[in-house]
């Protein structure tokens, strides 16, 4: 066995990722007078006028310190930095709750089309009908997938979506004259749930999960009263387990007048199988950068559209995208404001564009459609972003949905769940599986057996990096000790999964046979284990 470990050690040396030499900062390449740009000459009569004649002396900046580098310097520097990074294109990225699936390249091409990207947000609606049509169809698709009645695309991230949804809930109760202060969040919830609730001005009540990792109905009953505004849930939850009592839970919450919020982080587990709207959720957010394949960008941009049931529509952010048909416009003939009154039956909402028998969009109808932004929304929560949200990300998500179609989406969910369950089946003997319940797209292991032998989950995660594979989400959810939260996604195949499983097993053996190898990991990454305490104590946040 020892021999095998040594072999694997030597082979990983060869697979070291990126350059191991530390790369200077871009400013260190700077040389006074060096330039990396080219701009046209200024060909105006005022080209020689002193700047102080155009701007008063006391407004003029004295000194600007920025790098002075060549184009080649910049290209090489950032190319080298990219080599110190690991993306989905580098290999498996099994971060639980993050849905790091493959990011199709066609989406990137589409989002870069000049006719789609070179548009100003204040361009007239008439000049951007193609884009608005795409956004409208994206909204329709998201509503259909989730079983909700209306969708806003404005929130720029999942947490932004949560904040938006909670503001909607708050405004709804304000308008009803009810002052409800409590938002209930299970202890297994994402950290953004309580943070968003607090930011929206609610008091957060955390409830303990039961032994099966699900909402404890008795605990829930205890905190439910007429002061509860909402219960935030993700289903399946962060353990990957489906809350089977969801209908009962929803009735309990609705019976005290509270609402149900669905955290869409785990939507990849249910497309085509369950719809949050059918589970009686009133509000939800999507993560287009998880479920709908848009790239994470090293931490953004994301996109977090919010869906609501009919009765919450008036509270959605300003503006809301609407469609009307040409024929009706000519009959109406009034201005935008009148047309888009909520009670006006002439404007169409989600679900009106028809699909023909072959499952394609009905082309004839589209020609008549006019898409518009509705600003006249007196009950709205207001604005969350300056413009319409992360449009470029929406284009990629639409492209993905359009490419997959209904069957492709369902197939995606099936394979996400198949992959996760396959890995679970292959790992549950080597690592402790704290919850035996059926799980969907992700599962949580505990490293307690390994911890007893001296290596923590953090050590295991770092050792995985040595093998050129990214680590799962660790120490989350908080309800599991030494948690390893694994979500392979549907785009990995059995070969990649097997490789990861084998690596996890090798590491478990290494913990017994060469513990220092694991405890001191990583060894082959561009840099060794970094001192986070030092980073926080001796803050060095800039050059």
């Amino acid at each position: 066995m020892g021999k095998q470990i040594n072999e694997s050690k030597s082979s990983i040396k060869n697979k070291a990722i990126g350059n191991t030499k530390s790369e200077p900062l871009i400013i260190e390449y700077s040389s006074s007078g060096r330039k990396g740009y080219s701009l046209p000459k200024i060909d105006l009569p005022n080209k020689d006028q002193e700047l102080s004649e155009l701007l008063p002396q006391n407004y003029l900046r004295e000194e600007l310190k920025l790098p002075e580098v060549s184009e080649v310097d910049v290209v090489r520097h950032y190319t080298l930095l990219s080599q110190k990074n690991y993306g989905v294109d580098s290999g498996i990225y099994p971060l639980g709750s993050c849905t790091m699936k493959y990011n199709p390249k066609i989406n990137e091409d589409i989002a870069r089309l000049d006719k789609l990207s070179n548009l100003h947000p204040y361009q007239d609606e008439g000049l951007v009908q193609g884009s608005l049509e795409i956004l409208y169809k994206l909204k329709q698709n998201l509503a259909e997938i989730s079983g909700m009645d209306e969708v806003t695309l404005q929130p720029a991230s999942g947490a932004h979506g949560e904040l938006c949804g909670l503001m909607i809930i708050k405004k709804y109760f304000e308008d009803k004259g009810e002052e409800r202060k409590k938002v209930i969040v299970p202890d297994s919830a994402h950290g953004t749930n309580p943070a968003s609730a607090a930011m929206a001005g609610f008091d957060v009540i955390e409830i303990e999960s039961n032994e099966e990792g699900m909402v404890d109905i008795e605990n829930l009953k205890e905190v439910l009263d007429e002061n509860v505004a909402a219960l935030m849930l993700t289903n399946p939850n962060t353990l990957g387990i489906f809350e089977k009592d969801i209908i009962k839970i929803s009735e309990l919450v609705h019976n005290v007048g509270g609402l149900l919020y669905y955290d869409g982080a785990n939507m990849n587990a249910i497309m085509g199988y369950v719809r949050p709207g059918d589970m009686n959720f009133d509000v939800l957010h999507f993560n287009l950068h998880k479920t709908f394949s848009t790239p994470h960008g090293g931490g953004g941009p994301g996109s977090g559209p919010v869906g609501v049931k009919e009765f919450l529509k008036p509270y959605l952010p300003i503006p809301l995208l609407r469609v009307e048909t040409n024929s009706k416009e000519s009959a109406d003939g009034t201005g935008r404001d009148a047309k888009f009154n909520d009670n006006n039956m002439e404007c169409h909402e989600i679900g009106t564009t028809s699909i023909d028998d072959n499952g394609a969009y009905d082309g004839e109808n589209q020609e008549k459609d006019i898409y518009k932004w509705d600003y006249d929304r007196p009950q709205s929560i207001g604005k969350l972003q300056a413009f319409y949200g992360n449009y470029g990300v929406m284009l990629k998500a639409y492209s993905y949905i359009r490419k997959l179609g209904a069957n492709g989406l369902k197939e995606t969910t099936e394979n996400a769940v198949l992959n996760a369950n396959y890995m679970k089946a292959r790992l549950k003997d080597e690592y402790h599986l704290p919850y035996q319940e059926n799980s969907l797209h992700e599962f949580v292991l505990s490293g307690i057996k390994q911890k007893e032998k001296g290596s923590s989950t953090l050590n295991i995660a770092k050792r995985l990096l040595d093998y050129g594979q990214y680590a799962p989400t660790i120490y989350f959810p908080l309800v599991v000790k030494e948690a390893l939260m694994i979500e392979p996604t549907e785009t990995e195949n059995i070969k990649t999964l097997n490789k990861f499983v084998e690596t996890m097993k090798i590491i478990s053996r290494e913990i017994e046979e060469s513990p220092d190898l694991v405890k001191n990991a990583p060894h082959t990454t561009p840099i060794g284990k970094l001192d986070e305490v030092k980073a926080a104590r001796e803050t060095n946040l800039r050059w």
Binding site: N46, Y59, L64, A195, A198, I246, S303, I355, F387, E437
Partner: protein, 448 residues
């Protein structure tokens, strides 16, 4: 057409390992009562070829900025984007990476963020900066919340010369925490300083000013800062245009406490309003109240320099309900774009871009003023935007110019201002020919 590569045979093998007979059994934990029985009403999937064809057809109903002579600005700016930017950010090690939680395999993203923070500090002349926020609007919202936490006061004074959408976002954010907003009127396209002075009192948490302001004028921030001197714990929040800062006295020199802004102008595609990035910098003493991610330098066990996310106890994944903000995903790739832009344009290039903007805007404004009937409203100093009033109905003029392929500016009544005018914006991309075409068209539409 999905992106699944397990073959039918492999799927069988996997089901066997799991110990179940068929796919549906994977979902048996879902109670029958909530199982979706129908088929999603989403059209059948397409091949890549069909998809591209369909999307291009839809896109053909748009008119891109390159097909018109556009003078639109107002927080989204059509600047030149050097070629190298898209080439570098298209490296998939950057764009397909997650938030850099495993620092050892994320040194590329982390070092780039450290460089971004450094350059935002240099540009604003502030002591510390974060790794980005969602956009200029939400950055303004986060800034007022941060000021309220620091000062433990609830009153925010915001000038009506601040971007109307940023004001709306700030209020949407602020009212959840019970913040009270007072809007100060404008006078000659600038903040009415007398009214501002009388509005500030010991309960004021912060004064919010845009620099240059939404209407194009450069505010007298020195004077505004003086007004605050007699009050303890009242912060100055400056929303800055990063390109203008190449020429304008820095917010740091003007003694701003928190500086935020929209970073789109730094190399990001205009993209119909997003994704953009909000930047935020502040005095170091406020660091622990700053929202969002922050990257710091440290060393590994061999003393090698490296970078990690730091001061994370401010953040939601550690502090949950008591975090400084709920922000998780930010705009990392857009911040990378800004970093590359600031590097390649550098000290001289950024200044040259700003000079183009300044000189071209002045040329255009002066020419328009000489056309009888047209008025330039800005009495103060401008950078690259200004307001014009045509001799008749602004809407009619706007439409007539549009027929000539000119987007003459933003009609400010559409954003809530009580008087109408066109907010005209000029960047380095405008040629003398395009400026003169606009000037000629203004004369022509006036005469017929």
């Amino acid at each position: 057409m999905s992106y699944i590569s397990n073959t039918l045979q492999e799927k069988e093998e996997m089901l066997k390992t799991i110990g179940i007979a068929k796919m549906e059994d994977l979902f048996k934990a879902i109670p029958q009562e909530v199982l979706f029985q129908g088929k999603l009403e989403i059209p059948a999937g397409l091949s890549e070829l069909e998809l591209l064809k369909e999307i291009k057809e839809q896109a053909s109903r748009n008119s891109s900025l390159d097909e018109m002579n556009s003078f639109l600005g107002g927080g989204a700016y059509d600047h030149y984007i050097p070629s190298i930017i898209d080439h570098i950010v298209s490296r998939s090690e950057f764009y397909t990476a997650y938030t850099p939680y495993q620092a050892e395999l994320s040194q590329g993203s982390l070092q780039a963020i450290y460089e971004y923070q450094s350059m935002i500090c240099q540009l604003t002349d502030m002591e510390v900066a974060n790794a980005s926020l969602l956009d200029g609007g939400s950055a303004t919202g986060e800034a007022v919340l941060m000021a309220s936490r620091i000062t433990r006061k609830k009153n925010i004074i915001i000038s009506k010369s601040v971007h109307p959408a940023y004001r709306e976002v700030a209020q949407t954010y602020g009212k959840q925490q019970g913040l009270v907003f007072t809007e100060v009127e404008i006078k000659d396209t600038q903040t009415n300083l007398e009214q501002l002075d009388s509005a500030i009192d010991q309960n004021t948490a912060a004064v919010v000013i845009q620099y240059p302001n939404f209407l194009g004028s450069i505010e007298d921030i020195t004077k505004i800062k003086e007004m605050l001197n007699s009050f303890k714990r009242t912060l100055l929040i400056v929303i800055a245009n990063p390109i203008a800062l190449a020429l304008l006295k820095s917010p740091g020199q003007l003694d701003a406490d928190i500086v935020v802004g929209e970073g789109q102008a730094l190399g990001n595609t205009i993209n119909y309003g997003g994704p953009y990035l909000g930047f935020m910098a502040c005095k170091e003493k406020y660091l622990r109240q700053m929202p969002g991610r922050i990257v710091g330098a440290t060393t590994d066990q061999n003393g090698e320099k490296g970078y990690v996310m730091t001061l994370q106890t401010r953040e939601q994944h550690i502090r949950r309900g008591r975090a400084t903000s709920n922000i998780c995903t930010n705009e990392a790739l857009n911040a990378l774009i800004a970093t590359i832009y600031l590097s390649v344009m550098g000290k001289h290039g950024l200044k040259e871009v700003a000079e183009h903007c300044l000189r071209k805007a002045h040329y255009l404004a002066e020419k328009i003023e000489t056309i009888p009937g047209y008025i330039v409203l800005n009495k103060g100093n401008i950078f690259h935007e200004f307001l014009i009033q045509p001799p008749g109905d602004t809407k009619v003029y706007y439409e007539k110019l549009k027929e000539k392929g000119i987007l003459a500016g933003i009609r400010i009544t559409s954003l809530g201002y009580k008087f109408d005018a066109l907010l005209v914006c000029v960047t380095e991309k405008k040629t003398l020919k395009e400026l003169d075409q606009f000037i000629n068209a203004l004369e022509v539409v006036k005469n017929g």
